[in-house]
Each structure stands twice: as structure tokens, then as C-alpha cells.
Symmetry: D2
Subunit: 366 residues, 4 copies
């Protein structure tokens, strides 16, 4: 695995490294970690890989690694959003599979181009919508698909954060509030898109209409930092999506509640090893990572016995485990890819436009 981005100060680069390697199916061996050659070598050292495999740019990495017997066999793109397309395109066109951080790209047009390129290249492309990697999220999806809640009626998905309630400070914050680097969506593109993806993933149902209410709450901010989006899904399910970066004191409070004619389920990312299931018989169960009743998908993605908490890194690693399977020829299964990427970009794009135009309910098309 070769990485693009993830240099000094990156939050998500080391996360990708740990996640990729957790199950020892993948090894980080090279990277174009920074556009500054010195910083890229410095990053290579910090990742404990050979210094000369810390390249100054992606083209260099692709060229040099191709010459090696033990060269990289896929690329992980972990740059700010505006570099997703050029990076992924170059890798795919060089014949390498790509796993890319979300959102897919900075703009809808870029997403379409990237999808075109990937399909042309016939190379695997995966997107790290991390939260779909939690075993109990997959268990919810499987149970809902099997009819545990009956006909679906309502989903509420929330993603409160508070870390951008003040001035954006530090590398992580700064690019996220800059339209040149992040794209047209701020909060909606950074975390709203996770919530959107999670809602479609868990319910197995697609959003077909949105009614967004986006705003930049912090004075002077150029991108939205607080979002509510009303949703309609195929089949008539109603939904509400809340995402915010200005809810002071909230850390990473992603949660989802799904209700059907026969029950309800609720899961929280900050306590990810269980979910609540309100059952048709009126009882309420806590489904736990330990339970013998868990299906194959969740069980396969659990590494240690119940009560020994697994967290964010393990969920992330589950995506890489899926990806490693794809590289070996397995089906992508629950791993998000082009379709999820296009849908999520369409979601961002539609919300931003409809909000700017005060368009009210707007169809979500890709």
C-alpha cells in the first residue's frame, strides 16, 4: 500500500495506516505524504518505512514503485478533498486499485469523472465511510434487511460535533473551512455525508428528496457549519439528518435511530458495541457485541470477546479487511465504493445548491 497525503500533522493518515495493517493483510510501504520532499521523507520515518519510499509526489511514487518487485499494489488517498480526484485518477490510470477517504471528491463533476475513470480502468475503488465498518452497524443492516422492523417508516440520524464552534485553528480545521480545499460543502461534506451514507447503509433504502437548512453560524465562516436536512426515501420512509460542528461539547456523537411498523433500533457511535432493539412483542433488547445471536457479518468483523471494547480503529480496519478481500477477488459485500461515492456527492451538491437557492424540497438524482 502506498499513501497519498497523511504527512506531518495529519489526523487521518495514521488512522489509515493502523487500520490497514491491523489484520496484517496489508502493509504500508510507501507514500507521497506531502508535496514537500523533506516533509514526505520525515513522514516516511515517522511511519517507520524506508525513507526513500517517502516520495515528493504521486507521479514519482507511481513511477518508482513500478520498478520494484515489491512495489505497492494499491493506493490510499487521504488528502484534503480537492486532491481526491487527481490522486485517484493517476493511480487508477496507472493500473492500481484505490481506497479513498470520504467524501469522494470536492465537487459533483469531479465525482462523475472519477467514477468514469475507475470504470474505464476496471480497477477496484473503495471509500472509507468508516462508520459502516462497525460490527453492530452491519448487524443492524442485516436484521433490518431481514425484516426485523417491518416496513420502514422513519430514520433520524444525527452527527453533532463542537470542535469548530470557535475560530478554525490548526491544520485539520483550516482546510475544512476553506472552499478551495474542501469543496462546496463544509459540515455537510465533512460529517453530514457520513450521516447520509449511514442512513442509506443501515436502512438499505435510498434518499430521493432533500429539504436542506444549512448555515455558517460562526461569524466570517465561508462554508456551512450547521445543517439539518429533511429526507424522503424510496418506499415512503421519512427522515431527518442533523449535523453540526458548532454544538460545543459534542465530540463525535453520530447516532442513528430507525423505526418501522414492527419495531425500532438505535445505535450510538460513542458506545458502538451495542444497539437497542425495540421489538414487535413490546420488549426491548440490548444487542451486544458478545451475543450468540449475532449474524455472520458482525461476528466476522469482531476480533475480541464481548465486553472488551472495540472502537473506531477496529471499525476502520474492517473496511481495509473488506478491501483486502476485494483485492483477492472477493465480492465487495458491504464495502462502500463508486455508487456510494456518487450518491453522497449528489447529496452534498444538492443540499448546498438547494439551500443557496432556497429551493425547498429538491429531488436527489445522480
Amino acid at each position: 500500500m502506498g499513501m497519498v497525503g497523511g504527512g506531518p500533522g495529519s489526523f487521518i493518515g495514521p488512522v489509515h495506516r493502523i487500520a490497514a495493517e491491523l489484520d496484517r493483510e496489508i502493509e504500508l510501504v510507501a507514500g507521497a505524504f506531502s508535496t514537500d520532499a523533506g516533509r514526505s521523507r520525515e513522514a516516511a520515518r515517522s511511519y517507520r518505512i524506508e525513507e526513500d519510499r517517502g516520495y515528493a509526489d504521486l507521479a514519482q511514487m507511481l513511477a518508482a514503485e513500478k520498478q520494484r518487485d515489491d512495489g505497492i499494489d494499491f493506493v490510499a488517498v487521504v488528502t484534503p478533498n480537492h486532491n481526491h480526484l487527481p490522486s485517484a485518477r493517476a493511480a487508477l490510470q496507472a493500473g492500481l486499485p484505490v481506497i479513498c477517504d470520504k467524501p469522494m471528491t470536492a465537487t459533483m463533476a469531479q465525482a462523475r469523472e472519477l467514477a468514469y475513470v475507475a470504470r474505464e480502468a476496471q480497477m477496484p475503488f473503495a471509500l472509507t465511510f468508516t462508520y459502516t465498518g462497525y460490527p453492530l452497524v452491519r448487524e443492524m443492516r442485516d436484521r433490518i434487511a431481514a425484516g426485523a422492523l417491518g416496513q420502514l417508516r422513519k430514520v433520524v440520524v444525527e452527527y453533532p460535533q463542537g470542535w469548530l464552534a470557535g475560530e478554525a485553528e490548526g491544520k485539520q480545521a483550516e482546510w475544512r473551512v476553506d472552499p478551495e480545499l474542501a469543496g462546496a460543502g463544509g459540515c455537510i461534506g465533512d460529517i453530514g455525508v457520513h450521516a447520509f451514507n449511514l442512513a442509506e447503509f443501515v436502512t438499505g433504502t435510498r434518499v430521493n428528496q432533500v429539504m436542506p437548512d444549512l448555515a455558517a453560524v460562526v461569524p466570517g465562516r465561508r462554508l456551512d457549519d450547521d445543517c439539518t436536512v429533511l429526507l424522503r426515501f424510496d418506499g415512503g420512509m421519512r427522515g431527518v439528518l442533523l449535523a453540526s460542528q458548532i454544538e460545543l461539547g459534542e465530540l463525535n456523537g453520530l447516532r442513528i435511530r430507525v423505526y418501522g411498523a414492527d419495531g425500532g433500533m438505535a445505535w450510538r457511535q460513542e458506545e458502538p458495541n451495542s444497539f437497542i432493539w425495540h421489538k414487535a412483542d413490546g420488549t426491548t433488547e440490548i444487542v451486544r457485541a458478545a451475543d450468540a445471536s449475532l449474524g455472520a457479518a458482525a461476528t466476522a468483523m469482531t476480533r475480541i470477546p464481548g465486553g472488551h471494547p472495540e472502537g473506531y480503529l477496529e471499525a476502520f480496519a474492517n473496511l481495509y479487511r473488506d478491501f483486502a478481500g476485494v483485492l483477492r477477488g472477493k465480492a465487495a459485500n458491504m464495502l462502500p465504493g463508486l455508487d456510494e461515492g456518487l450518491r453522497s456527492m449528489a447529496f452534498i451538491d444538492t443540499c448546498v445548491r438547494a439551500n443557496a437557492e432556497d429551493a425547498g424540497w429538491t429531488e436527489l438524482k445522480i
Copy 2:
């Protein structure tokens, strides 16, 4: 105290009785509990009051009680919504103060008339927005008013219930889904209005615009049973209100979160004896009913030491305690009255109309 409504099968009648009497400042002594004379006497027996003070209608009660030295000195209206106006009007015009269950009336026009009547009569009028009676809700209000969160930015108020997810069965359910008895609002009028009132109460700020998304989810239902309303407040605060009666498994999950430039607070009705306070210094405090730091308003409304949970009945009793104070000449303080009633009726009315007309963002005026 004389009661109108609250006969056999009533949920809220016995609640009013217990709440009114909890602090021994008030005694239930008479009632027009049912329009059926026999059932009204039966109710009198069940409340352990003299049988002949269980009247067949309000007019009878007002006339008979006036003749007594120990006659009632105020009326509690606990009927379905469509009877709030006629009952309250008759009592007020007979010179008796009124405490009335929410919502104020079945329609906006009725609310205006009731307000007119009450002002003409110069009689106290209170509305039992129960949740404002919780000591820690009052503590939040006081701390927010004192600037604990800085400039307010966002409120999220949710009221999930699941008990009307199937066919409406039983006395409690049936009138609530019947527009003739409940008024134009279903879920929005039954519980959405509590959430609205709580948001204004806690933040001390008024909603000036709404964007409602109401629907009847259960097939055949004539009133809304699932609502989301986007909100704008004076001063620019943004808000979201969620209320539902079809979220299966949810009981009475009212909760409110408020965020400002300097912090955040969160409270849940199902565990009402504490709230979370994210502070400006980055720490998070659990404020508990026990705490020495509580202000006078919360302390006065707490009957037993921290750790001995007080619940819904005690919160309700706090409203009656306030009302008893008003009858003795005290200021209404935090007790909801005409203003809160009119605002909440305007909220229901505006949401129902704007939703029906697909009007998008709509001004909230009273």
C-alpha cells in the same frame, strides 16, 4: 379545586389530582368529571370525594358550588382539547381562576377568545406545560439566562413516542387522532407543542419562523403523527424540533439540547434529575438535583435530597404549587399562562397550515 373532565379512564385527571394535592395547598373537592351523571358520581367516588359533588356538567358544578361556604375556588380543565374553551370560559366568567391542560384550545380562534375572556375577567389562567415544572429544567433556564452558554446559537428539541404506531386504541388514543376532538394538530398539538414550549422556556427566546414537515404515517390516520419543524428564533438562533408518535419503542423521550458560543447543555425527561453542562473551559459537568450549586428556583421545587429520584408527578405538582402561589397573590414567575398558550396555539396553527399549503418557511405570529 373543581375539575372538569378526568372521569373514568382518564390518564390526566388523576395526575392533576395528585399534583394539585401533593403539597397540601390545594384539595380536590368537586368535579364535572363526565357528561354522564352516573359516571361523574362514579369518578367522585374513585377520587374519594363526596358523591354529590360529582356533577353532570360544569354549569351545575359552578352553580352548586357557589352556594357552599366551602365551595371550589378555582377550576382545573382536563378535558379533550375541544372543550377547553367552553369550560375555561364558563369558569372564568363565573369569577373563578382556571388552570388548564395543554394545548390551550383546539383552534387558534378559540385561543384568542379564551385569552380575551381571561383578560376581561381579570382572573388567573395557567397552562400545565408539565415539563417546565422539572427543577433542573428551571435551573437550565436560569443558568442560560445568566449567560452560562454565551450567545445562543442552536437548540435541538426532540419528543419521540411510539404508542400510536399502530391503530389508535383506547380512550386516550382515540380522541387524540380525531380532528373533531383534538383540533387540527395531532402529534404537533399533543406533544410537539410541549417541545416548542420547552424550547422557548429554556432558552428564554422566541421562535419567529417555522418550516414544518408533518405527516400522518399510519395508514388511514387523519391527523399528523410524525413531525419535524425547522425553527428560527429572535436573535438568530437556529433550531430543530422533532416529535413523533410512531417511533416504536420510544416512551416519553422528550429531550433538549442548547448550544451557545460558550457552551452547551442537555437534559432528558426520562432521567430528569440531572443535566449535562459542557463548559467554556472545555470541561463537562453533570449538574445534579443534589448540588449545592443549584439556584433558588430549582432548590425550592425539590422536595427530597439528591439521589431520591423525583419524577413527573412532582414536576406537575410544581406547577400547581406555583398556581397556589398566584392564588395567594404571588407573581406567576415561571408558570405558563396566556402568553405561552397563545404562542403555542400559533405554533400548532402555523405548522399545520404551512404544511398543508407546502408554504416553506413561514412567520410565526400571534
Copy 3:
């Protein structure tokens, strides 16, 4: 109902008044609230009863009330422990039933005498072990009795408090740390005895051996303020009881966990409206006050729908409701009485003695 004790500054007097009257089956009409005549009249006023029914002592109350047509028909004893015996004895011998706060008396000898007197008088005698009044505690007891957990193996009951971690200040604290007023047990007699009673109540099984570890942690304290007691029950069940008044920050954290060969259950007093049930099939259920699956005992003791929290006062009121039933000739059912009183006094007595003598495992006999 006439009260002994409960005068100005009392915590438990007003609690008894509210609990007794909550269901309107009982009315507080008289009291020997204080041994100071003026303070007793002051208390009468504060309870809103006729001032001349605030008597200077119990003998006076018994004599005066006997003369009235509407005189009291039972006595509630809410004094510090050393007055339980003389008060209850006088009332019983005057032919009045008695409901008494726990512990039964200050000493084992007094308890035996009180039991003798009550049996001689053939008058009902009840003890307010409050926590047995919680509906979900009764539900646990019924389910366990019905075999939900299989053969019982283990109980852990904890009662952490922190309010006596410093100098004992105020009326409530002072008598509790004074052996003359409280008896030989400090923490063990004040709250340990609740935990003991709860363990026997919920499991339906009797303790037959104890191994106590009691100490006075706060410098200068004359009674224990921190206790652990190892337990053995009939049938071989093992147990641990923890009670403390010096665990700073803890409020009233009574909790109980019971395990059998086929499952486990856990309940917490500070969130009393649900309990956890680990089932034989490996799933975990949250049993809630709302649930249709609740049995008759719990349902009868629940006043309002699930999700509207009921708390300590309602649990207390359930004991008075039982007591009112007994006065009308019903069976005592789950209401604690002489047997529970004697057992709990034997528990205190045995623990204090065995601890003082360093006696190790000691038989619990009554």
C-alpha cells in the same frame, strides 16, 4: 393518620405525609410532631392541619384523638430510632395499628419487645422499607420467584452515599451518628439495613451467616460509616453487601444484582423505572415500567404510563397503599412487617457484635 415525630427540619416526616396521602386513601390529621409543644403546633401549621391537633406528646395525642369522632385510626412513627419502641408500643396498646420507619428499633431487645407487643395487641404493624415499594423491584421479585434466573447463586447489593464524609452537620446527620439516638449501628443501621432487606425481598431467600467489616472512617465518629458484609443465604447463595456514607459524591446509589444458574438481573434506585435482565438464551432485555409483560404486582403499583418517571415518593406511597389495604382487611402481601423488622434488627445487631468481637463468620439468628 397521626404522626409521631416529623417536626421542623425533619426529612422523613414530609415524605411520610406525601406518601400516605398520594392515593387519597389516607389523610394526615394529627401529630405529636415534636416534644416541644410550640414546635409541634408549628409543624401542624406547616402540614396544613388544625393547629390544636399538633400535640406535645404521643400520650396526649392518643387521649385527645380517642375523644373525637374523626380521630386518627393509626399512627405513623417517624422519630429517630430510639423512640420507635416507646411510640409504637403506646399506639399499639391504645388499639391503633402502626406504620413505622426503619430500622424497627434502636436495639434487638427493643425489637423483640415491640414484636411481642404487636402480636399481643393483634394490631397491624408495618415497616417502611421504602425500596420494596418500587414497582420494578416487585417485578424482579416476582420473576425470580417464578424461576426466571433458575437456582440462585449470587447477590451483590450496594448502597453508596457520601453525605457523611465530613463532619456531621444538621439535624438529619447529627442523630444518625449518635449511639444514644441511632442505636448501635451507624451506616449499617441507617442504610445497610435497607440493602439487607432488599436482598432478602428480591431473592425471596434468607441470610443465615454474615461476615462483617465495619468501621468509622471519619475521625472521631462513634458509629460505623462504612460497611462491607459477606453473606450466606439459605440454599447456598453467596452474597456481598456494601454500604457507605463516606463515598464522596455518591447520593443514594442503592443497587442490586442477582445471578442464578439461568440468568441475571440488575436494578438501580437512581434510575428505578427499568431493570436489566440477562436471559438464559443469551440475550439481554431492558424491562421497563411501560412493558406489557409486567405482572400484576408491578402494574398495580404504577400510576402513570411508561416514560413518565415515577420516583421515591411514589415508591413510598406504594407502601402506604398496601398498608391502607391491610387496614381494610387485605393480606399484607409484599408489605414489610414484624418478621422483616426482626430479621433486619438481628442483621444490625449481629454485624455490630461480630465486628466488635472480630468474630469472623457468624450465624444470623432471630
Copy 4:
């Protein structure tokens, strides 16, 4: 790193592998994973290391690896307890540092021998008392050491599990209930020892007396599966330790509460990213992994931002990170070693003996 044990069916082997490699400072390259040569090679494959570095026994591994330029530079011992001594001794005497799973050995005599060997060899020796690796456990320790709770008075540490409530089935269970493989302690040696170590670690204070109550609850079991131990610490602090493997439904419920004259703290392993702090001023804080107030020790051991849960594997990895530091010459800091090993073995040994002899309070000496 070379591993001893951890072959097919092992729970803790893969945990060590992941933990060791998480920060990329250490790499698993060889192992004597099983005493069956074929199974050891199979394990090598499953760990994705070269098959011929899956050795049939430790001696072979030590010999073969010594010949390699890239041979192992330390040994991780993850066998059942009875093999800890021979494995660690062989490695140490071959001049290799050792990191060993807890408990140190199967018997006290073995522990003494191992300590002697390690000191003679002047080689680093570490014990994976996993729970000391949680960042917030370290934060508690640091704050308590700095006086946050004032003079310590009481610690309650609990470790409930339920997985051995029935017949012991499967490789993990079977050796743990066999005195030949596990040593004289069952539950007390498997998890009680974690609780003991955690209590000493967090409070920075040593146990000097124990009063154990151990039993084999499951019929036919030869080792204890349910334990309570009363504790006394240097300085007079009182303590209670509860550990059980038969509390059905409990997963891995380790928790600790510490109280002093000026406050209290509570932490739970199943939600490890925060703890509760009852402060001297009467307020209660939730200290979270995110907080800016965290000290250097906790911050250094946190890999991702607050709200992204880190769990058991990350805590375990923190011990390996410490160990890697020690190999580079750093101080052992908070990493448990010989001293903690000897103390914990003395704890097991003393509890088992005192319990067998019904000895009551017994001094804990090493």
C-alpha cells in the same frame, strides 16, 4: 518479537500481535505457537509470518533466531500460566527481554524464581496488566497522586464476568478451570488479579491485609469461580474486591471507584473513554478522552481525537509502546514488571491459602 503460545484457538495470542504492532515499533516475526510442529506452522501462516519461523518449541526458536541477522530481540509469553516460568526463564537466560501475560506464573514459588532469573539476567521483564494501559486509568492515577481526592479512604474494585457460569467449554475455558494449567487460583488468578493490580495502580497504594471469600460455585469445579476479598491498604485505606466468572450476562465489567476525604472517582472498562470525578466543591465532572485538561501520560497514550472510541486493543498496545520504550532505554514508567508480578502472585497465593484455611484477615507479604 517472537511469541511463545498463541497458537490456533488462542484468544490472547492475536491480541498480543495486534497490540505489539499497532504503533509499528514492533513486528511479530517468529513464534513457538504450539508444541505441535504442524500447528505452530499453521499459526505462523495465520499470523502471515514466514512458515519456517513457526517453531515447534521455544528452545528451537531461540536457537534458530540467534543465527539470523534479523532474529527476534525479545519474547512475548502468552501460554497458559504453568508455562510462564519455563518460557520466560529460557528467554531471559538466552539474553532476551520478556513481556509476559498475567498472572506472572502459576505459583508463588515460580514467581520468585522468575524474579530471581530476570534480575540475574538483567533483562527487562514486563507483565501485561492490560487495564493499566487505558489512558483514563493513567489519568486517574496521576490525578490521585497529585492529591485530587485528598487522603484516600476507600476503594471498590469489581470484575464481574459470566462466561464460566456453565460447564467450561472450549480451549479458553478449559485450561482456566484446571489447577494443573492455571495454578491454584481460578477466578482470583484470572481476573481477580487484574482487579488487585488496578486498585494498587490507580491508588498508588499497597494492600497489606486481605480477608478472602472464594468459592467454586459451579458444581464439580475444582478452582474458585466467585471471589470477594476485603482489603486493607498502607495508610489505612479500606477496600473491597469483587470478581466473578459466574455472574451470568456480565461480559468484562471491570470497574473501579476510589474515594478520599476530598472527592471520588469512578471508571468502567466497558466505557473506558471517560471517568466520573466528584470534586471537593460538590460538583461532578465527566473527564473525557477529549479533554484539554488531560495530563501528559494520558494524552501520549491517546491516538485519535475524543469521541472516536479507543478500546481494549489500544490499551494493550499502550503497554507494548511502553515496552518498546524500555527496549530503547527509557524508564519503565507505568509499565508493570517484576514488582507488580510478585505482588499479584502473593495476592493470589495469600487469598487461596487464607480461604482454604479459613484464616480470616491475613497479612499480604511478598
